[in-house]
Amino acid sequence: MRKHKIWLTAHWTGKVIYWVASIATASLGAALALDTSTISIPWWKATIEFVQLVAPGTLIVLPTLLVVTGALGKRVGNPWVWKTIQSVLDTLQEVAFSANHGDQPIYEHRVTLFRAVWSRRFPFIPWLRKRWLIPYERSGHINKDSKSYFRIGDRVEAAEGVAGMTWMRNTVIVVPDVLPAINNLSGKRNQKIARLTFVSEKHVRDKQPQMRTYCGIPVEATGAKLWGVLVFDSAAKGSITHDRATIEFSRLANILGQLVARA
């Protein structure tokens, strides 16, 4: 999941460097145009002469810094976008599960936005074929430390998880009834959980998934470009239906598409 503090620091650091480099570039240009023989203040003259001396090298470094911070800034994205995506997911959590809270607290009904990336370690590299779905943001204020990632790729058979299968088939997938995993036991129960949720038995043994209902919806960014997957999951059996999830999703899909295009 995106660590907001780190990305926020990266965002503002990049912005500061960008502005400092912009001002420095403009100042250097002005200093180069000055005739130091007309400057009467000794310290000011010495400063301008020094700047004129180092200008050639600096004028290579500064524009490069501008380009790099500008490009990185685009990849890091805008904090306003992340916060708005969080609001959208919180709204979906509230409305999609509202009829079926039952006795479960709201945090046992989750909406998770997965992003398709080439590399789990370097998710900001955009150009290569997508191979993984990583959690980008989740509804609510807890359960944010998810490290669940799912493989996608060329073949449907290699896709992992409800999220991966939703991506590969580009359809809505609903798994209405999954038993919760039992600690450290293999056997038929965990085999069935693995088959229903498109993961390995090892994944079930290690992660012990407790969610009983899943609904995956493909997410497109502006321009009809498949960007990722939204997964509704819940610890309550049957608590999310296709109709409920897609009706509520459709109301916000356009906004979400514009946000993820800037994410």
Binding site: V172, I173, V175, D177, K192, G223, K225
Partner: protein, 142 residues
Amino acid sequence: MENWTRLNLTPGKLEDPNPIEGVQIDLYVSPFDIPTHTKGYLDPISGRFVIEFKYIGEEPIGPVGSEGPLHLRLGKNSGRLYAIEVDIDRIGASAVALRLLVDTEMKNLSPTESARENNFDLARQAIHSLADEGLYSAIEPG
């Protein structure tokens, strides 16, 4: 029919091409593939009757391609069906003839990508559901 008409298409479950024994999962069309609005009008510049579809989100439309007497406009990124154009001169300016042609040709229409089959099916449903609701009202009844 100059203005967009809202559609309320409710596609049912899809057939699972790879069913797993003893495992129940339900597949449905992506919301992005379901047309939300449609309209039919006579384009005064090209002289063609046009049926257009709207979806969640927007994308650039590719160049017009032809499938028999129908000219198709598909989404550049998704391949979705955004518009069907028919040369009125070929069939005469009659809503009855136009409707018959569109119904017949739409049955045989297949997308170049099989992944868009659901989208084309829904477009057929939309045309069929609005045929009696003024979709062809821009043309003389005939």
